[in-house]
Amino acid sequence: MKDSNLQHQMNVVVVGHVDHGKSTIIGRLLADTHSIPDGKLEQVKATCTRNAKPFEYAFLLDALKDEQAQGITIDTARSFFKTEKRRYIIIDAPGHIEFLKNMITGASRADAAFIVIDAKEGIQENSRRHGYIMSMLGINQVAVIVNKMDLVGYNEQKFNEIAREYSEFLGRLNLRPVSFIPISAINGVNIGARSTDIAWHKGPTVLEQFDAFELKDSRTSLPFRLPVQDIYKFTEAGDDRRIFAGTISSGTAKVGDEIVFLPSGKTSSIKSIESFNTTEKKKASTGEATGFTLTKQVYVKQGELMVKASDPMPLVGARFRANIFWMGKAPLIREKRYTIKLNATRSSLKLVNIINVIDASDLSSEKNKQQVDRHDVAECILETLRPVAFDLVKDIKFTGRFVIIDNYEIAGAGIILEKVADQDSTLHDYVRDREFSWESGTISPAERAAIYGHGAKFVVFTGDETTTKDIIATELEKQLIHSSFKTYYLRMSNVIRGLDSDIKYGPEEREEHIRRLGELARILTDSGQIFITSVTNVDDYDIKTLQLLNSPHEILVVNIGENKFNSLVPDLNLEAGAKAGAAVEAVFSLLRQKKVLLDFQI
């Protein structure tokens, strides 16, 4: 293609305090580079004359009725223009604090940023807050525009003062601006063309700065990370490939590479790279939305992180220290459960501790805050319900950041600074407290067992075949009762419609179902019974949770069919489609072995 250089495109965001001139700058830039449809400028000017208001370049960008009525940019608007070098998308991010989440949305898509500061008004709260957000979003190419120089008589002194003060601020965030540019958007000075008014400025104009930003992608040289977005098998369409699909967030992988999935730790190697309507691929790199098949089939859930065995490993843990930025209407508090979305995984999340809350506008910090309010930036300790795989943002930023969901909304965004040593989880603490204050009657468990003639046990059937599980559990209950053992088989559907009727059935809610089941087991095993239930596809962490919640009593895990646990060893493994009679016999002998049933009674 003739203009192959135009195959490259850069997203540049323009931020700054409201009224400091973002829209004027963009409007002017589009006009100066002839990037607006013929007649549009005249049309907007005519409308202004008709309504007897002075023309503003900002009006060019105001495509929406709503927006014009309010007079402020409420959402990120995108404009397109190109230079000899490449194409650009300018993202106009609203400066008003009310629309911060829009600003973040716009800015997070950017390769580089301009921060606009009004020469007369000087650095404002939002100028600083926006600088902070740029650093948190990981945008490290930032240029600062000092606008409205006409209002300070194009005074170099004034410009230098702002540049000095703002550099010092950004320095504290480890952000070094690539340039400071004095301009007057209204007069078109130093946007596309220079002017004798600011002869002293030797740096780039705004347009030159656009082309001076670098569009390099250093991600390919980083370790390979593929958050597994989904696993496809389109069997009904006659396709037997089992495809691990996702977008490569860093690094490169090729056919034959040994790979590891985290947190499960399962290993395999790449058999093929799958794609549609391309030539055969042997290699896939950063940014590609791709798919892999594996040589050895492993059971892995969506959301795991696929990495190369030869690369530095990501961290796996449930607790970490992070910087978060809160956008939620309700504050972030300790008493509530949230959901974290990290790479392709989601998990239930708790705030363990607030280390300090930082005022993003001046970087002052407040140590004793008990909650994180809207627009606060906070350093805190978070805990996921089950371990997750991640990198530290300083090592690989793409796999070290996350969002927090509260009440269906993305309410917070964060970056991971450090893994926190595996102390006891909040669940451990909770169970310890619960047991500490558990009030028993005068009957001890031993006495109860002696009178009943058997011990208590929580028996969990799992595996993906619902029908056999239920048949076996039903049969087990019958035979135990007929042998005079205090037994109860609880079908999960009864819990869902009854005890759990206030919660939905979904991935996060599943954790709450499991929690309640564990509490119920604690009560029923305490009553001396053999409590049986069957839950489809529980994993290592579900069992650990049930075990912990059921303590001090014990759990027995019977797996039917393929064993999908990572490291947990079930007490009993039965083949898929096992006959009820034989299965029940196997469980009986296990119960005997565990001294739940005493021999002489059978």
């Binding site: 929406l64 369409a237 590609e288 969002v403 909304e409 993305i410």
Partner: protein, 293 residues
């Protein structure tokens, strides 16, 4: 990666995200170039498969070649093809071509209303039966809560404000002032019961990108877009009473790309051939809020 490769990757990522998160998902296929590119990207995302149904709203006034083209590819690509329409408005001749409504009202009746009620399952959906080779009434009347749409930000003002994942409330209303944040490939995929989501994988594409991608991938686009000897071609497709072809010498994709880059269309908006856009300044915005794409 080139610019087109980046666009493709993000669109594929979004499609996969939508498929993973929404059980009751449908993709709108207008037969035009954008939604046909979207369909192609779906085959990219799912390695040759299209794992959710496609919905076409038939206004009864579509250029006949569009319907032929639709059914040809529904067969060839084994699509789960659904068709909806406003049969009462068509049956009682309450349309613009019948002289009963103005253009905007007509769009509202034949597109917005038809779309809304077909999505909700209140109005019958016809489904292409691959064994019979014909359409039958679909038994499934479950509401679709996730709708994938091929809108682009560069089309006009209101579309430049969208999110990749844009919520609509029960009334299908769109609250432009209060949209969820999207960052780092994380989108709003959690919804209170009763809300709907519009997914926009093509938001970042321009008209030129679409054509360059069609050329690169050799996507079999409907030939109405080309000048087939009469010196005219369609730049944007719709209903024949309201969509006029533009003068053009472009007989193939290369010609179109050339025309968009250097020729006479460089600075003329794509929908300039659509008459309903001209009737009032905010007409499209209004239609959009009501659900018309």
């Amino acid at each position: 990666m080139t610019h087109l490769e980046k666009l493709e990757a993000l669109s594929v990522h979004i499609l996969r995200e939508a498929y993973r998160e929404f059980k009751s998902l449908v993709m709108l296929w207008s037969i035009g170039k954008d939604s046909t590119v979207l369909l192609w990207l779906t085959r990219k995302a799912f390695l040759g498969h299209v794992p959710f149904p496609l919905l076409h709203i038939d206004t009864g006034y579509k250029i006949p070649e569009m319907i032929e083209y639709r059914d040809k590819f529904a067969k060839a690509w084994h699509l789960n093809m659904l068709v909806g329409e406003n049969s009462s408005a068509l049956g009682s001749h309450q349309t613009f071509p019948d002289g009963k409504l103005n253009r905007i009202e007509c769009c509202k009746a034949l597109k917005s209303e038809a779309l809304k009620h077909t999505l909700s399952g209140e109005w019958p959906r016809k489904r292409f039966d691959h064994n019979l080779g014909d359409y039958i009434i679909d038994q499934n009347v479950e509401a679709f809560t996730g709708v994938i749409v091929g809108v682009r930000a560069d089309e006009e003002g209101s579309r430049s404000k969208e999110r990749y994942f844009s919520p609509r409330d029960k009334q299908n209303d769109w609250d432009i002032g209060d949209q969820p944040p999207e960052l780092w490939h994380q989108f709003k995929t959690d919804f209170a019961p009763g809300t709907h989501i519009r997914v926009h994988p093509l938001l970042d594409w321009t008209e030129l990108d679409i054509w360059e991608y069609i050329a690169k991938e050799n996507i079999p686009i409907i030939p109405l877009y080309f000048n087939r000897g009469d010196g005219k071609r369609y730049r944007s497709l719709g209903c024949y009473p309201c969509t006029k072809p533009v003068d053009s010498t472009a007989t193939d994709i290369r010609g179109i790309v050339e025309e968009l880059k250097t020729g006479k269309f460089v600075n003329i908006a794509e929908r300039a051939g659509r008459d309903q856009d001209k009737e009032d300044g905010g007409g499209l915005e209004t239609l959009r809020r009501e659900g018309y794409m």
